[in-house]
């Protein structure tokens, strides 16, 4: 509260740049968690902006009509305010700058957010997504894979979950040895097991790890045995893929630092495949350019298309999707297991594994399934949420839109397979906001151990049950569990022209560009009405029969 110098400013103008006549005048309030704009109009429309969603605040030089202030949010909303007095503007700027950059976890919104749940419900809520249940849903044959206790108390790898699935044939010594030969101890473990429903009955799996510490010549027989064990756990195949999601040049450069990639001569029966997803720094810059394109004042079509090309964003999205397609094809069509890694195995690896999983398994295309997938491939495997999404004031070089890209890959797939997903675009956008907003505890911290140490389950609330309760808002009306598109493996086309600019996500800098009518909303309304009609019909069903009988009597009478 000490940060708030002026809690209330009147006669502030919220500007709509494209349609100036839609600009509104109102009162601006600053609370400890939100900036609130209340329109003077009769409706008193309110706009709430969470401080933790603020990306930056910019003040433009004062002009005759007042002091302009631009609030840019991490979910790409932009609010343009005109504050009558320069002093007020400076106060708001100073307050917001401090409020939007917490330095310690304890200051995050999730620790004060209180949705009035009692202790029991809160605990139950944290159990809503259960990864043990998820691994058993996959139908992992227990003669081939089992849970190892090697990472109990995070002894082996502090950024991994404590429970890890490894090939049953890998001895404890091999597991420890392999972890030692992998960057940050992130050894190869099971991410997804594909229970094949085709006549082939393949039992291929997707494993993940970080890069091996090969340098120019080092090798580890434990690590080699570990990969051999993974390959052997798929008895029908004679080799396995190692997918290095980095550009080959980057992987080679890592060798100078004692890291690198698997030497095909040392590992028996592996095929190494580079995919060429760029690193987090390239992605950060790319997205910034894309955001700039969305913010152009009155761009011509050329400005827009040139900016889109120049940002490189869709090229990167294509690279991530291509990685997923390669892995899914290997697993489902060739029945070959895949080990995926990048450098640390928590960014590109998470992207590639989760995109492949969405392609392979219809479950991950449901509302609950996507939650499970994010919990598994991202949260539990140590994707560094707090670093990547700048939850705290920290190193800007750690920030990168890794998760944004995964969500966009799903969105691009939804464009090609409109009936295949239970959720709508709104669900993805909502998830994106929550990843940045720190309202719930799910995405706080950088790994499971850190979350445990922060006692998040006791001190914060879980997002998942909240989204689940409101799932009606996020439903895709075209989804039907028995539809052919819902079943089986998705095989998207990844030709350049299949990728689109995600307007729902990046076109939000201007209010008036928003879509006018949404077919999805319209169809959902129709479906809701149909449901009510169905209920009315079934409630009447008994009545007419009695009436018919009655009518019969009339006729006789």
């Amino acid at each position: 509260m000490e940060h708030i110098r002026t809690p209330k400013v009147e006669n502030v103008r919220m500007i709509d740049r494209l349609t100036p006549r839609k600009s509104t005048v109102g009162t601006l309030y600053l609370s400890s968690t939100h900036t609130i704009f209340v329109e003077n109009s009769e409706a008193h429309k309110e706009t709430w902006v969470l401080h933790s969603l603020v990306y930056n605040v910019e003040r433009l030089p004062t002009n005759s009509s007042g002091s302009p202030l631009i609030i840019r949010c991490k979910n790409f909303h932009v609010y343009r305010l005109l504050i009558p007095q320069e002093k007020d503007c400076l106060d708001v700027l100073a307050s917001l700058t401090q409020l939007s950059c917490p330095e310690r976890y304890g200051e995050l919104f999730c620790f004060s957010f209180n949705p009035n749940l009692d202790k029991e419900l809160r605990e139950k809520a944290w159990g809503f997504i259960n990864l043990k249940a998820e691994f058993s849903r996959m139908g992992i044959p227990c003669n081939l894979w089992h849970v190892t206790a090697a990472n109990h108390e995070y002894r082996l790898c502090d950024t991994y979950p404590s429970e890890l699935f490894v090939p049953k044939s890998a001895s404890p010594a091999v597991i420890v040895g392999s972890a030692k030969f992998r960057s940050r101890g992130r050894l190869p473990v099971l991410s997804y097991f594909h229970r094949d429903t085709s006549p082939n009955l393949f039992i291929a799996s997707i494993c993940r790890s970080s890069q091996p510490l090969t340098g120019f010549s080092a090798r580890s027989s434990d690590d080699e045995q570990m990969l051999q064990a993974i390959m052997k756990s798929n008895p029908v195949s004679e080799f396995m893929y190692v997918v290095d999601t980095r550009p080959k040049l980057n992987a080679m450069a890592n060798r100078a630092a004692g890291k690198g990639y698997e030497n095909e001569d040392h590992y028996t029966n592996i095929k190494l495949q580079f995919i060429g997803i760029e690193n987090i720094h390239v992605m950060r810059n790319s997205q910034q350019k894309l955001i700039d394109v969305g913010e152009l004042a009155a761009p011509s079509m050329s400005d827009f298309l040139w900016g889109l090309e120049n940002s490189g964003w869709l090229k990167h999205i294509k690279a991530v999707l291509d990685a997923g397609v390669f892995i899914a094809k290997a697993v489902a069509e060739d029945g070959v297991s895949v080990l995926v890694h990048c450098s640390d195995g928590w960014d590109r690896t998470a992207q590639a594994c989760s995109v492949a999983s969405v392609l392979l398994d219809p479950y991950y295309r449901t509302i609950k399934g996507l939650m499970v997938l994010i919990e598994k491939d991202w949260v539990s495997f140590g994707h560094k949420f707090s670093h990547r999404y700048a939850h705290l004031d920290g190193d800007p070089k750690e920030v990168s839109p890794v998760m944004d890209q995964f969500l966009e890959c799903v969105w691009q797939l939804m464009q090609q397979f409109p009936c295949a997903f239970e959720f709508s675009e709104r669900f993805l956008i909502q998830l994106h906001t929550h990843i940045y907003s720190c309202q719930h505890g799910n995405f706080i911290g950088n790994c499971q151990k850190e979350r445990r140490d922060l006692r998040l389950q006791e001190r914060t609330h879980s997002l998942w049950p909240h989204l689940w309760e409101n799932r009606a808002e996020y439903t895709n009306p075209l989804y039907r569990t028995d539809h052919s598109q819902t079943q089986g493996v998705l095989k998207p086309l990844t030709t350049a022209y299949c990728f689109k600019f995600w307007k729902g996500m990046y076109g939000r800098a201007e209010k008036s560009v928003a879509s006018h009518q949404s077919p999805a909303d319209c169809l959902n309304a129709v479906r809701e009405e149909s449901q009510q009609l169905e209920e009315e019909l079934s409630s009447h069903q008994e009545v007419p029969r009695e009436m018919d009988a009655g009518q019969g009597i009339h006729m006789h009478a």
Binding site: L18, G294, P299, S300, M301, S302, F304, L305, W306, L308, E309, G312, L314, K315, K318, Q416, P418, C419, A420, P477, L478, R480, H483, S484, Q485, L493, T495, A496, Y497, C498, F499, K500, F501, K503, Y506, G507, E510, S512, V513, S515, H516, Q517, S518, P519, C522, L523, V526, R527, E529, S530, L533, E534, E536, L537, H540, P544, M547, G550, Q551, H554
Partner: protein
């Protein structure tokens, strides 16, 4: 019959047809006077019937004695025919070449086509100017129907009946016509019921370099203004292009002579530039090996989306003048047969809910394109694969359809018709069994006796069986003016046309079917519930009567 001479080999067996994203078909290739037919003679396999008129260009190549003909169609599809035997292949290729480039209109398929359906409503009689005028008369008495162009001598590209201000006599019209390019003097295009403002269209005034003026022209357009009101002249060309036109006798309205009008210049490209844009766009869409950078840069370089944006922006401007400013508008470019019509017809779609119904849209195309003298035959003689010398081909109508699609996509519930109607119109404008899009103006169509010798497209479209395919299940009549966003991120590539043959549409078609299903199911339930409610109400009254009797 003259076609027989052009067909050296009417039939070849063992021909293989290859199409992207479709299974290969092997069968017998037959050439008729108007069609290329490939039939596999097996059940359940699709036959290919291709109008020669649909063929834009062909390429042939040989590997040994196996010849391959690549056929590029005006609807943008590209197919490949593998033909065994060099001589057969050469014969087929030269026949296709000759049959697809027939010069004489009267040899075109519509003159030979006999419909297999019964014509219930003759499309040639469906849109009579007198009918539209009756509607207008019910709203205002400011306008009259003039027969000054009865014999097409005042303006060869106008229809015989024209709506003009009541107080302007035919003699003044003739004088105004002599002051406008091609005789296209200002005529009524649209009357906005809400406030009585109008859109007029014309061709450029012939001011020339020495600033000619024409009192009758000034009087004519001033007659459309209410006392003390100003109007807008929207010149679809940039000021620079309009200036240059003076050297060739054209020009624009000088402020001094038209003090009640404010002139605004926009930048819609000329038709030859648009054709170039289409060729580049389709080339980019057809290359699947493009990297993302190359694809986006080729898309940008084609300028197609820029053209869409500029045309829509100009149409929005015209609509804004009418609805927001409460001012009348005169639209013209150079000839008044291309960009002018794009702008006036799109403005009407924005302003007038009637134009968003199927019937209303047909009326719009009939009135603002066919009768207004858009030279369809010239513009649509060749499409995106035209590599020869171009005369006056240009995708003016296609761009209009693209703009309609953009609005439809932004307002998916406000149109009675769906994308299929737009795609169908694109196809038929370029190659058709119907006579509707033949000829360049009303006078030419009369000479060709199209209404007697050919079937109208509308006779076919308006059959209930066909209409179904074009109905938008999401349609909820919306009486408002709809303002589309023209921001670049709101305008998309029209995939239904430009990527139509470059991907499988199975999943998208399924999604459409699902949408139809949801809405039909809802209607079904509604009917059931309504009839139940009626039954219940009836029984209740009967019960009451019985109770009363007791």
């Amino acid at each position: 019959m003259e076609f027989a001479e052009l067909i050296k080999t009417p039939r070849v067996d063992g021909v293989v047809l290859r199409r992207p994203f479709m299974p290969t078909v092997e069968g017998t290739l037959c050439l008729t006077g108007h069609h290329l037919i490939l039939s596999s003679r097996q059940d359940n396999t699709e036959e290919l019937w291709l109008l020669h008129a649909n063929i834009d260009s062909t390429e042939k190549r040989f590997v040994g004695s196996l010849g391959t003909i690549i056929v590029k169609c005006k609807d943008l599809r590209v197919i490949q025919l593998d033909i065994p035997g060099m001589e057969e292949c050469l014969n087929i290729a030269s026949s296709i070449e000759a049959l697809s480039t027939l010069d004489s209109v009267s040899l075109m398929y519509p003159f030979f086509y006999r419909p297999l359906f019964e014509v219930i409503e003759d499309g040639w009689q469906s849109f009579v100017p007198e009918e539209s005028f009756k509607d207008l008369e019910s709203m205002t008495d400011e306008w009259r129907l003039s027969e000054v162009n009865k014999d097409f001598s005042v303006c060869p590209s106008y229809p015989s009946l024209l709506t003009v201000p009541r107080d302007i006599d035919d003699e003044s019209l003739c004088k105004a016509a002599s002051f406008r390019h091609g005789g296209r003097f200002p005529v009524l295009s649209y009357y906005h019921k809400k406030n009585g403002m109008v859109i007029m269209r014309a061709a450029q005034p012939l001011t020339g370099t020495n600033g000619r003026r024409c009192k009758e022209d000034e009087k004519l357009i001033n007659a459309t203004l209410c006392a003390g009101k100003r109007g807008y002249i929207i010149d679809t060309r940039t000021i620079a292009v309009a200036q240059q036109a003076k050297a060739r006798g054209g020009g624009f309205e000088q402020e001094a002579n038209y003090p009640q009008w404010r002139r605004i210049h926009k930048a819609i490209e000329r038709s030859n530039v648009l054709q170039d844009s289409l060729i580049k766009l389709v080339e980019a869409c057809n290359d699947q090996s493009h990297s993302m950078d190359r694809w986006l840069s080729k898309l940008e370089a084609s300028n197609w989306q820029s053209n869409v944006k500029e045309i829509l922006t100009t149409a929005c401007l015209a609509a804004q003048c009418i609805d927001r400013e409460g001012a009348s508008v005169l639209v013209h470019g150079t000839e008044g047969t291309d960009s002018t019509l794009q702008v006036t017809s799109l403005a009407q779609i924005i302003l007038d809910p009637a134009c968003r119904t199927i019937r209303g849209f047909e009326v719009l195309i009939e009135r603002e394109w066919l009768q207004a003298g858009h030279p369809f035959q010239q513009r649509c003689a060749q499409s995106a694969y035209s590599n020869g010398k171009l005369r006056s081909e240009a995708p003016v109508f296609l761009l209009f359809l693209d703009c309609v699609w953009q609005i439809l996509r932004q307002f998916p519930c406000s149109f009675q018709f769906n994308e299929n109607l737009l795609i169908m119109l694109f196809e038929h404008a370029y190659a058709s069994q119907f006579g509707t899009f033949l000829g360049n103006c009303v006078a030419e169509r009369g000479k060709l006796q199209l209404s007697q010798k050919t079937v109208s497209l509308w006779s076919w479209v308006n059959r209930p069986q066909e209409l179904e395919r074009f109905l938008n299940p999401l349609y909820e009549p919306n009486n408002l003016v709809i303002w589309p966003s023209v921001a670049p991120q709101s305008l998309l590539l029209w995939e239904g046309v430009f990527l139509r043959w470059n991907r499988s549409t199975k999943c998208l078609d399924e999604a459409y079917q699902e949408m139809v299903h949801i809405i039909e199911y809802n209607k079904e339930l509604q009917n059931k519930v309504n009839s139940l409610r009626r039954q219940l109400a009836q029984l209740e009254t009967e019960d009451k009567m019985v109770a009363d009797l007791k």
